[in-house]
């Protein structure tokens, strides 16, 4: 083989021509694909909404919307602490990174507890995937499907965060791992920013 390097304007080999490592690029692609899964479900639910004459708007400002806003606040705050965690790990401050990841876990867990409470309250009111006391049965089907799938993502995220926190504490995980975990967590938050208006705010009882 001849030891002539290829022309400089051409790619010189290695592992990140676009300045993005394998794992980060992989996470971005996963998020693209996952956002399409959510997109398909959100569009389906809105399709059901516009084609149902008796689509209900059952959530009163108090307590439903207030609680949902509190949940949103928890999730948004957890995204903020995640930003702090990524920043700390970039500075090499592993202690602060772990501390902020744990705050993020706390925010996510609070969201899940509040959300589980919400589900239990609605189920006690007689809301089921196949029927609800207010109108079109697809309303509750859409509610449980979207928030359920989102909760699965939050739960997975909490486990992921704890794994990264443990790895960061022991020094096994690098700054890039924290950043990639952050990407996932912000995505989960972003999905909620679509579900919250479409499921809650558009369902405020008049």
């Amino acid at each position: 083989m001849i030891a002539t390097p290829p022309a400089a304007h051409l790619w010189n080999g290695g592992s990140s021509p676009y300045g993005v490592g394998h794992k980060k690029l992989g996470m971005w692609l996963f998020l693209v694909s996952d956002s399409i899964t959510f997109g398909a479900l959100l569009i389906s639910c809105m399709y059901a909404r516009v084609s149902s004459p008796n689509w209900p708007t059952p959530f009163p400002a108090w307590p439903s919307i207030a609680f949902a806003s509190l949940m949103t606040l928890c999730l948004l705050t957890s995204s903020l602490t995640m930003v702090f965690a990524v920043d700390a790990s970039k500075r090499g401050d592993r202690r602060a990174a772990v501390r902020n990841i744990l705050w993020t876990v706390l925010g996510g867990a609070a969201f899940m507890v509040l959300h589980a409470n919400e589900w239990l309250r609605l189920i006690a009111e007689g809301v089921r995937p196949w029927s609800n006391p207010w109108g079109a049965p697809l309303f509750s089907a859409a509610f449980f499907t979207l928030t359920g799938l989102h909760m699965v993502h939050v739960f997975t995220g909490l486990i992921y965060l704890l794994i990264v926190a443990t790895g960061t504490r022991s020094g096994k995980r690098t700054h890039e791992d924290v950043e990639i975990c952050g990407l996932y967590w912000h995505f989960v938050d972003l999905v909620w920013m679509f579900i919250f208006p479409l499921i809650y705010l558009m369902s405020v009882s008049q």
Partner: protein
């Protein structure tokens, strides 16, 4: 580049890690191909059973009754069993053969090598993709053995019947649920695979392998993987909703006022059309996931055996990309007969016809590649030419079907069956044949028999055209698809002879595949031994030994100095110039 012994990696010693739970892209590629081979044998056998029923609707087959007493009561296949066979044939062929072998099989084996990488970006994820797909196949096969048998709803599983459970028909109970679980699992496996292909192509190219120096095969796999990453999530989403309809009592796809099996269905509020949108938003890109790798392979082989560069390489890349893109905005042409505003129909029709432009660019470029070349009619070349032939003859009927006024008549007739079997089934299958014949020496160190390959090619291409050309006429006469028998229709009774002819041609085509099977297994052990570059080709897989070592490139990473198809370069001593040949090593600049 100086040899670096740190780059050298030996294959794992344990049998389990090396051949079963392997993270080596080459082994995983072969695993995918074997899974596809099994699927092909099963899927073809099922189509033979269907053709038996269609050719001799009232003949009794005591042997088949003995083998499958429930499916053949009195020796005649029941219509429900026919539908179950049809569903499994379609599902297994589309997902587990056509999606799996060209992209995940050959792509896994050759994409890393052709870009000069030692493995995929995520080897463990790669292993997981294969085993996820394997589990999906097992779950699908399990649906054959549960109460009621396999689903009878076709590979498109249209609701409402597929959403209602077993009151809607045999196979729509546990069988349908297993089908959905299988396909959801398959989606997950494909998405993992697609992600891996994209990251590998973007991040792992060797020095000098700029994007526009990648072989067209790599462009085909890369684009197909991108399409898969964006299309499969929608099927996954739709599948989740349909599973909820079946298991959690929701009614996303169930409208009010249905009476099924003399029972009033109380569920309401949903729309079966919604499923069609979700399904075809995936389903149309899916056919491009199937065909794009075939286009890459065809370009690669036509260039090699014409001893000429691919004509208009950049236009080919652009055409691959635009076909992938337009694929996402044409799904409505599958739904012209479902009820659609004429304006929307016209938009979908125009967009669909647009696909003809990049497709024609590709065909013209293939012909221009052949033009004036020193054509070597190897078996692989014949298969690739077969691909071009099917792509044209199947594509032309696509232009007819893209027009709502014509489609409303042809919809759900044998015309559509003939169209998609040619363009998506046969074209892709011939690209698999071509790839196998072309790369077999690289993969196993031995050639497949050229004589048997050519024999197989000629019998198969004659037989399949004898199946599918007459099938167009059956469709034009109005014969509906998915019926086990149409002798009851007075207007079709005279066409029974045509159906019988098609069946005989199908049996011939099926039997010809035994030649291929024999060729594969005979050549694995007894084939003619090969050299590193038996076809005098130019891309990176021909730089290394046949079969390639575990770490592909040994102690040195290859350095790429030129484009992928430098054949018959004026002034060069040979009629091919490897991508690794430095500019100043052959002739003065």
């Amino acid at each position: 580049m100086t040899p670096d012994t740190a780059l050298h990696v030996d294959a794992p010693k344990s049998f389990l890690r090396r051949w079963i739970f392997s993270t080596d892209h080459k082994v995983i590629g072969i695993q995918y191909i074997l899974l596809g081979l099994f699927s092909a044998i099963l899927g073809t056998s099922l189509s033979m059973l269907m053709r038996l029923r269609l050719a001799w609707p009232e003949t009794h087959f005591p042997l088949l009754e003995k083998l499958m007493p429930e499916g053949f009561p009195g020796g005649v296949m029941s219509p429900e069993f026919y539908l179950a066979v049809l569903t499994i044939h379609g599902t297994i062929m589309v997902f587990f053969l056509l999606t799996t072998v060209p992209l995940a099989g050959f792509g896994n084996y050759f994409l890393p090598i052709q870009i000069g990488a030692r493995d995929m970006a995520f080897p463990v994820l790669n292993m997981l993709s294969f085993w996820t797909t394997f589990v999906a196949l097992l779950v699908l096969l399990a649906s054959l053995f549960v109460e009621g048998g396999a689903p009878i709803s076709g590979w498109t599983v249209y609701p409402p019947l597929s959403a209602l459970g077993k009151i809607a028909g045999p196979g729509l109970g546990a069988g349908q649920t297993l089908w959905l679980c299988s396909i959801a699992t398959f989606c997950a496996g494909s998405m993992m695979g697609a992600l891996n292909f994209i990251v590998t192509t973007l991040n792992m190219r060797t020095a000098g392998m700029s994007l526009m120096r990648m072989p067209l095969t790599v462009w085909g796999w890369f684009t197909a993987a991108s399409v898969a990453l964006l299309a499969f999530p929608v099927l996954l989403g739709g599948g989740i909703l349909l599973l909820l309809d079946r298991l959690a009592g929701t009614s996303f796809f169930l409208a009010a006022g249905m009476v099924v099996s003399s029972k009033v269905i109380t569920r309401s509020g949903g729309s079966p059309i919604l499923w069609q949108h979700l399904f075809w938003f995936f389903g149309h890109p899916e056919v491009y996931i199937i065909i794009l790798p075939g286009m890459g392979v065809t370009s690669h082989i036509l260039s090699t055996f014409s001893r000429k560069p691919v004509f208009a390489y950049k236009a080919m890349v652009l055409a691959i990309f635009s076909i992938g893109f337009i694929g996402f905005i044409v799904w409505g042409h599958h739904m012209f007969a479902s009820g659609m505003s004429p304006v929307v129909g016209m938009v979908f029709s125009l967009l669909t016809l647009t696909v003809g432009v990049p497709s024609a660019i590709k065909v013209f470029n293939w012909l221009a590649t052949l033009w004036g070349g020193r054509i070597q009619c190897t078996a692989a070349m014949l298969y690739a030419l077969g691909f071009v032939s099917f792509f044209v003859s199947g594509g032309v009927t696509g232009l007819l079907l893209a027009q709502p006024a014509i489609d409303v008549y042809f919809h759900d007739t044998y015309f559509v069956v003939a169209h998609f079997h040619i363009i998506m089934g046969l074209a892709a299958v011939f690209s698999i044949f071509a790839a196998l014949q072309f790369w077999f020496p690289k993969m196993f160190g031995r050639h497949m028999s050229e004589t048997l390959g050519k024999l197989h090619f000629w019998i198969t291409i004659v037989a399949v055209y004898a199946i599918f050309i007459p099938m167009h006429f059956l469709g034009m006469a109005g014969a509906p698809r998915r019926y086990a028998q149409f002798t009851e229709f007075v207007y079709l009774r005279n066409l029974q002879g045509l159906a019988t002819h098609i069946s005989w041609a199908a049996f011939l085509a099926g039997a010809a595949q035994l030649i291929l099977l024999f060729n594969i297994f005979y050549s694995l052990w007894k084939g003619k031994k090969t050299i590193d570059n038996p076809w005098s080709a130019t891309t990176l897989e021909w730089v290394i030994s046949s079969p390639p070592p575990h770490d592909n490139f040994g102690d040195t990473d290859p350095v790429v100095h030129r484009g992928p198809y430098e054949y018959s370069v004026p002034g060069d001593p040979t009629d091919f110039t490897l991508q690794t040949t430095a500019p100043d090593s052959r002739r003065p600049q």
